[in-house]
Symmetry: C3
Subunit: 205 residues, 3 copies
């Protein structure tokens, strides 16, 4: 099935971006693998723990952990060519974001959750892995202040929800959401589109 | 019911303090909303996940998420008056702390947990949201080193537990615990009351 | 039973290392206790939440929380002698790591999980407490870049798994795994054995 293939691509893409983050912190190979697994599988894990949706995907299918570790070694091998691979990576990451969002919405829809929770489940699946990656690297999560990223997940989730309750064939909806979501993300990177910021510099306490 | 009203006030208060923390990190509006939801609902979520108490309150009632996001925009609108609003905010925050603690104790009591776990459930509900807020803002959690805060939650939890097993009417117990807890917190801020600290500056490893 | 005794020793040992970390951040006594509980019980808690294995050990037996808090005060009392106690502490910590790993593998084996998940459950039990300690202290987790630590957990987990499915008596397997694991950890500290590191210093985004 289409979404399954994209799911594996997305996991591998997220694992690779995590490996680069680990390299910037000079982590060892074990740290690289853990960060890859946490980043690629953390969003789905958070969603399933919060919704009480057991067993977790990687507990049922432990080869997902092997896939993450294997993917994490690709940037180690290609480190010297990474600068030239910037755009392929950003594209893979954007596809991964939208694919994770769709999968998260699907899980909530299958559980019969309310519309807001469907979109939130997609959002959590899409962004929590990256938040955990940034916390473990001791950074303020990028997603809270950089170009449109979470917004892409929310827009994709809302579109997918309405596509799902419409009469359209599901594969068409999935492809449509991915095209719209990835395009929005690419435009956000190219034109540095950002949400308005809230800057407050006094101490309350 | 009394505790329900206080619950919504507490959630709104915690969401507002989170928005100020987000502003100090120059987060965008999305980051502000996420930090508000995590801070206001994170304590109850942690408690429910640890006790296996599903579904989570915000999954059952997603409008809590909308309330958090709406409350988060109040400090954005009032940013220039925040200095004058310091005490109202600290008071709301103190009421929120005690209210969250009481609600957390209630959940554990309803599940038939042991007394220590009842108090710990109240403590987790009261302080974990703030801990998550500080971790996401890349700070050492304030609650580990500032004026009495967790202590207020523990005292409130113990009082509520004994009030609950006594013959007193529940509303009287709730009001009594809130008065004692909020007074203790206000005294702690005014007189800078702190727990003794443990300072150790050598590396063991 | 042997493993039960080692379990309590391990919890006390981890709580003590957490107290030292708290002292380096000048936390108050409450912060010391929370950090001790999170470090000593966080690994088992994460494992149980991820596997859906309820109730959690400390919810069922809240005196584990009391044990952690009591153990946390030992380094406060002995702070001036800690330099001389470096090796006893490192040994206790190594025994704790291997004991936690064995206990985590046991839980997964009892649930009938697949071999990879058995080892991962041991690994999570062994290292997640320390990761949470470092995140709460605002550090990049030590385990991602220091001497062999996670590797000791993985080796111990694999050995225990094969010992468990063999015909050997379980106590012999447990003692054997502890001897091998602790020896490996001590050698890693003495000879500064490390995993290869991945150093990458460019920004992708």
């Amino acid at each position: 099935m289409l979404i399954q293939v994209i799911f594996y691509v997305a996991i591998a893409a997220e694992a690779m971006t995590a490996a680069l983050a680990a390299g910037r912190r000079s982590m060892d190979w074990f740290g690289v693998c853990v960060l890859a697994c946490v980043t690629a599988l953390g969003g789905g894990t958070a969603r399933d723990v919060l919704l009480g949706h057991y067993p977790l995907s990687w507990v049922q299918n432990p080869y997902l952990l092997v896939l993450c570790c294997a993917a994490a070694f690709v940037p180690i091998a290609l480190a010297r060519y990474m600068a030239a691979l910037r755009w392929p990576f950003l594209l893979l990451d954007a596809i991964g974001l939208v694919a994770f969002t769709i999968i998260g919405c699907n899980v909530a829809l299958d559980m019969g959750q309310q519309p807001i929770i469907v979109v939130v489940a997609g959002l959590i699946t899409g962004i929590v892995g990256g938040i955990l990656r940034d916390v473990l690297c001791n950074d303020v999560p990028l997603v809270f202040s950089s170009e449109l990223y979470a917004t892409v997940a929310i827009v994709s989730g809302v579109l997918y929800y309405f596509g799902h309750i419409s009469d359209l064939p599901l594969d068409i909806v999935i492809i449509g959401v991915i095209v719209v979501g990835v395009t929005l993300r690419v435009l956000a990177i190219v034109f540095k589109l950002q949400m308005p910021k809230f800057v407050y510099d006094k101490e309350l306490r």
